[in-house]
Amino acid sequence: MNYEFDWPLLLEEPNWGWVIEGVANTIQLSLMAWGFALVLGVLIGAIRMSKSRLLRFIGTTYVEIFRNIPLLVQLFLWFFVFPLLLPDDLMRAWNRLDGVPFFTALIGLSLFTAARIAEQIRSGISSIPKGQFLAAYSTGLTEVQTFRHVIIPYAFRVMIPAIASEFLTIFKNSALTLTIGVAEVTGAAKTIEAYTFRGIEAYSAASLTYMLTTASVVIFMGWLEHALRIPGLIGKR
């Protein structure tokens, strides 16, 4: 193998600008999609535990469809198919919109991840002993109060690691949006490689972004779990 490293190349324009834009887009896209996915995921998770059979069916159908179609296919559906299904004037308005790739990516990532979060909410809540519900009901708390004061505060702590790891998943999955033209960090690295043939430098910059973010989220979550720990619970149950 003979390869001459040229690390300063990354700091030259336009490469540096691409990297910065890529990192910014990746972080912005992941954070926004994570927020939407969390709200939608909690909603669908709740629907799946409702007493109404119809609502449960809707929730289950959503989860099965959105987690079983590969994310890349979903992105293509939103990017290539969805605008064609709109009425003509709406489609024209959509195509005139600035940043269509970004919006498409946001929709695709959010809906895909919401299905995964809904599953985690459900398994988090079903991991709570049934006796907790009985105890709360026996003291006269209503169903809403039981969830509000007893089940959710506890389930939330149980689910912190899963919700954090969903952020990391969305963060890595956002790389797929380069296929529909979002200038995120993996796409930026690919562009630099294409122009300069300096693959190691370019991809190192992207990998570093992912690894540093992963490490900081892991450290932050460790701190958060410690801060919210329930005294006496570790090593029991």
């Binding site: 193998m1 390869y3 099965e64 469809i65 987690r67 079983n68 179609i69 590969p70 994310l71 890349l72 296919v73 979903q74 293509f76 559906l77 290539f80 198919v81 064609l84 299904l85 990391l168 890595k172 999955n173 956002s174 790389a175 797929l176 380069l178 296929t179 993996t186 690295a189 690919k190 490689e193 693959g199 190691i200 991809y203 992207a206 990998s207 992912y210 690894m211 992963t214 490490a215």
Partner: protein
């Protein structure tokens, strides 16, 4: 909508689907073998084995698959000095990437069998390797089977990423027909449906194994 376009191109599309299956199949077999060694390395008592295994796993798990594929497309020709067929290059990238994920599943499978099981086995006079083979591994395998099946579904979904480097798997075949016939709606919906059916069957199987 006119789905006859699917029928007209079904052979070409199915060829792509076969390629997706091939990639998933070889990825699963090869990465699972490597994963077993890494998993044993992860629970080793020797630091010189445990640390490198942990670094390998965490390095790959914190990067997106698509970036790993790009890395290998750059590195493989650089290291070997020649261009391998794209299927082989993608396969190497996939095997390395998914080995890290399978390794974590195998590791938690091994750790799910309590050490008291080993002690109980040893107390009845079995040797260490006998108790591993007869007591721990069968239980570990049963415990990790649902997660393994789920991961296989993820591998199959992941094969779509080979589209990015132009390998003619199912999604790529679909997009080629979509462009040629200018019928993206029918074709992408068809592809989504095919993936949905296959992956739904996989996740149901995982659920069934979990309940058993």
């Amino acid at each position: 909508m006119d789905f006859s376009v699917i029928n007209d191109n079904i052979e070409f599309l199915m060829l792509g689907l076969m390629r997706s299956f091939q990639l998933a199949f070889f990825t699963i077999i090869l990465s699972l073998i490597i994963a077993c060694f890494i998993a044993i390395g992860r629970v080793s008592s020797r630091r010189s084995i445990r640390y490198p295994s942990a670094i390998f796993v965490n390095l790959l798990r914190s990067n997106p698959l698509i970036l790993i594929v790009f890395w290998f497309f750059f590195l493989v020709p650089l290291i070997t000095g020649k261009t391998l067929p794209e299927f082989h290059t993608v396969l190497i990238a996939f095997v390395v990437f998914f080995a890290a994920y399978f390794a974590e599943i195998v590791r938690s499978g091994i750790q799910s069998v309590g050490s008291s099981q080993v002690k109980a086995a040893l107390s009845t006079g079995l040797t260490y390797s006998q108790s591993m083979r007869l007591i721990v591994l069968p239980q570990a395998l049963r415990n990790m089977l649902p997660a393994l099946v789920t991961e296989c579904v993820i591998v199959f979904q992941g094969t779509t990423i080979a589209y990015v480097i132009g390998m003619r798997e199912f999604l790529h075949s679909t997009s080629l027909v979509a462009e040629r016939t200018v019928r993206p709606v029918e074709l992408y919906l068809f592809a989504a449906f095919v993936y949905l059916v296959i992956c739904f069957a996989g996740t149901r199987l995982a659920l069934f194994l979990e309940k058993k």
